[in-house]
């Protein structure tokens, strides 16, 4: 099934530049409905108010980290089916394993390139 490029995508990062980079890459790939949040708490509020087709989140944020956001999302009946990709500089194996156990769909380590992002989007959402 083709990916719906008009679906809302939520990008969560406390660095505006990183949000801008991911937003530009997603736009290049054809996504048209991109929203943003500056930390896990704001993302969770937005997710409760709007159904997103994908969440791309950083790990290290305050007050709520991306890891905590992932745990909250997976614990919620309303949100647990949302595809979730972690994009982070946290590259220790313990981080990757913890995220996988918590239910992350894929994991990208920063710095990354457009090809890597595209590959993970395909792995999570399917061909587009």
């Amino acid at each position: 099934m083709a990916v719906d490029l008009s679906m809302p995508v939520l990008v969560v990062d406390d660095y505006q530049t990183m949000i801008r980079i991911i937003r530009n890459l997603l736009t290049q790939l054809g996504f048209r409905n991109i929203d943003e949040a500056k930390d896990g708490r704001q993302a969770l509020d937005k997710m409760r108010a709007c159904k997103y087709g994908l969440v791309i989140s950083d790990w290290n944020m305050e007050p709520m980290t991306g890891y905590e956001l992932l745990q909250q999302v997976r614990a919620s009946d309303q949100l647990k089916a949302t595809p979730f990709i972690m994009v982070t500089a946290e590259s220790k194996t313990e981080n990757v394993i913890a995220a996988k156990k918590a239910g992350v769909n894929n994991y990208i380590v920063k710095p990354f390139n457009a090809e890597t992002l595209k590959g993970k989007l395909k792995a999570v959402l399917g061909e587009f």
Partner: protein, 209 residues
């Protein structure tokens, strides 16, 4: 002479005087006993003075050494000049980096959004945008110099603190985890690895295959 020995000698002298009655004793004998008491007290206070003087001398030497070491640290210079200076340099690095990033991103976004109608004007616009990107990249030279200054400051402080700790024989106390450190540990907030990712993207991909 030990304190107990001196006290015993004085007590014996006083008892001797009391038991026989001072008025009934020949003056020479009273003087002899007084002399004996004075000798005992002198010996006692003499030994007391020497040990105290020795202790005070040691403390004075230690304090002087600590003062010299602290003066060598130039704490006022570190506190009033070096650390604020390093902080200002880092602020400038953040500011320069943000400004350059903003320029580069904006130029890139403008290039992507261009709707060329004429090849010649399109090329001129692309060339101009790329030139502005090159100019923006010059921030790296400045930030490199600023970061070198900060590194020099940190090394300066590190050297002096290590020398101070070594000179005074300071031992590390037991480490106490702060609330922030506990949060970092619990939430696996390790931050970026020093020399690139500690787990490669390929290895991560293998975990998700």
């Amino acid at each position: 002479m030990a304190a107990s020995e001196a006290a015993q000698k004085i007590r014996t002298a006083i008892d001797t005087l009391k038991s026989s009655g001072v008025r009934e004793r020949p003056l020479v004998e009273v003087l002899g006993l007084s002399h004996q008491m004075a000798d005992a007290m002198q010996a006692f206070f003499g030994s007391l003075d020497r040990s105290i003087i020795s202790e005070f001398q040691y403390l004075a030497d230690y304090i002087q050494k600590a003062r010299n070491e602290i003066a060598g640290l130039r704490p006022n210079d570190i506190g009033s000049t070096r650390i604020p200076g390093a902080s200002q340099e880092l602020d400038a690095v953040v500011r320069d980096t943000e400004r350059a990033t903003e320029t580069i991103m904006s130029e890139g976004e403008a290039l992507v959004a261009m709707q060329p109608t004429n090849l010649e004007s399109y090329k001129a616009e692309v060339d101009a945008a790329i030139l502005r990107i090159f100019e923006a990249c010059s921030f790296q030279d400045l930030t490199g110099q600023r970061i070198k200054k900060v590194i020099t400051t940190l090394r300066h402080i590190e050297d002096r603190v290590s020398r101070f700790a070594g000179a005074l024989g300071v031992q590390d106390g037991a480490a106490t985890e702060t609330a922030e450190e506990a949060r970092d540990r619990e939430l696996l907030l390790n931050g970026p690895a020093k020399d690139g990712p500690s787990t490669s993207q390929d290895d991560i991909d293998a975990l998700f295959a």
